[in-house]
């Protein structure tokens, strides 16, 4: 049994890792996109532009924190905090280290899905409380998109749960010793990644904030740190989905020679790189195609995948 001190250390570590990786990602993404597009990217503040992050946060902190007089005050302030809070709280079950996650929850996968289903509130509240047309349009789009892809994500995760026979992320990682589930479940892995892109509203699924038609979507009326919270939330979701994908499909921190946390970070970084690569490559999809793709392709394919997986799992356990 671990002592109190150990738990506190892990708590601070979880929070620091989540915050640091999400905010570093802003710089990483801008540099990578610049590299893809043959330009420099942020390179003025500090070595390689690394301190850009500090400069940005000072700037955002000292901007006017405007709560519009026409907005519904409490939901307006609540909205950006919800998205960061659900993102940060989800990290409590991510098994970063060999010692496992902050809490070794028996329902870890469901805990993650429950929190990600709550993050829809952030967007819908922002849109409704802002009392502004662009905000409302962006929020309706975003909410429709998020709930549609949440379904596909849940279905793809269900096949992994069927393979491992557990909701516990540590046990799922342990079950992948030797053979990561990406080999057995390539379809579920792909669906999870696509749904993750859509859930975190990243390109090519960034219609909720399509700036050429609806300004900034649901956060049009936000400023200062409340505005920054929406961005932090988006990057937290990116880190979260890649870390959950690492745990569910890539065998978590399993690997030879290197310590668990290093393997975990390498696999996570690879997925994040793919996410950024996708953003640099694909144009934004049209909304009707986005919804049709989610409902007519992802959901049926995920259901069929679950059926096939189920038959194989039952056949193997009945035979052996």
């Amino acid at each position: 049994m671990s002592g109190t001190l150990d738990v506190i250390v892990r708590m601070v570590l979880t929070l620091a890792l989540a915050m640091a990786s999400a905010s570093m990602l802003v710089w990483v993404e801008r540099r990578l996109l610049a590299a893809f597009q043959d330009r420099y990217g942020p390179n003025r503040v500090g070595p390689f532009g690394l301190l850009q992050l500090v400069a940005d946060s000072i700037k955002l902190f000292t901007k006017e924190d405007w709560t519009p007089p026409f907005a519904d005050r409490v939901p307006f302030i609540l909205a950006p905090t919800i998205i960061v809070a659900t993102g940060l709280l989800s990290f409590a079950v991510v098994p970063f280290t060999a010692a496992g996650a902050l809490v070794d929850l028996n329902i870890g996968v469901l805990y993650f899905l429950a929190l990600s289903s709550l993050s829809v509130y952030s967007i819908m509240l922002a849109g409704m409380a802002s009392n502004s047309k662009y905000s409302l349009l962006g929020a309706v789009r975003a909410a429709g998109q998020m709930i549609s892809y949440e379904l596909a994500m849940g279905l793809s995760v269900a096949s992994v749960v069927a393979l491992a026979g557990s909701f516990n992320l540590r046990e799922i990682v342990a079950a992948q010793e030797g053979l990561p589930y990406v080999v057995l479940q390539p379809v579920a892995f792909l669906i999870f990644l696509i749904a993750g892109l859509a859930e975190s509203k990243r390109s090519p699924f960034d219609l909720p904030e399509a700036e050429n038609e609806i300004v900034a979507g649901y956060h049009t009326e936000y400023s200062s740190m409340k505005f920054a919270f929406f961005f932090l939330g988006e990057y937290l979701a990116l880190v979260l989905f890649s870390s959950i994908a690492t745990a569910l499909f890539l065998g978590g921190g399993n690997g030879p020679w290197l310590p668990t946390i290093v393997w975990f970070a390498i696999k996570m970084a690879a997925i994040i790189y793919v996410f950024i690569w996708v953003r640099a490559t694909f144009p934004r999809v049209r909304y009707d195609r986005l919804m049709a793709f989610g409902w007519k392709i992802l959901v049926p394919v995920a259901i069929l995948n679950l059926l096939v997986t189920g038959a194989l799992v039952v056949a193997r356990s009945a035979g052996g």
């Binding site: 929070l15 000292t62 949440e150 039952v314």
Partner: protein, 144 residues
């Protein structure tokens, strides 16, 4: 409940770290919101307290009407989310319930797919301007 596989009931350690972690996160977020509200400057100007509409004076209220599609999608999501809850219950116990449970799952999924096929055939999954959508009275104001 005899004969069930033994499993840890909730967590292999107590839950207090999660509670403390949640409080820590909420305290941090509240602090950031309050500090940024305190140190940010204040401005006021004529016609500043208006919703942003690309620099034009706002026309009408933000009380927009949306196509019925969004309602249908939310409804379909609710039903399928409930079904996914059952699928999760099956997934975690897949090995223990064997072929009988699998057959039950297949029947369950056929029902689920029947719902999906119904929505598909009715055109509820087709967005954009189609004759079916134009028939719904609320679809006029904004083109989905």
């Amino acid at each position: 409940m005899q004969g069930l596989p033994s499993e840890s009931t909730l967590a292999n350690q107590s839950l207090w770290p999660l509670g403390v972690y949640a409080l820590l996160v909420l305290a941090m977020l509240a602090a950031v919101v309050i500090i940024s509200a305190l140190i940010g400057p204040r401005h006021s100007a004529r016609r500043r307290d208006l919703p942003y509409e690309s620099g034009m004076p706002p026309t009408g209220t933000a009380a927009l009407r949306f196509p019925v599609h969004f309602y249908v999608v939310a409804l379909a999501f609710l039903i399928f989310d409930l079904e996914v809850a059952f699928l999760f219950a099956w997934a975690v116990a897949a090995r223990d319930v064997g072929w009988l449970g699998y057959i039950e799952l297949v029947v369950f999924i056929v029902m689920l797919l029947a719902g999906l096929v119904y929505l598909w055939a009715k055109g509820a999954l087709d967005w954009g301007a189609s004759p079916a959508n134009a028939a719904t009275p609320v679809a006029e104001e904004i083109d989905g």
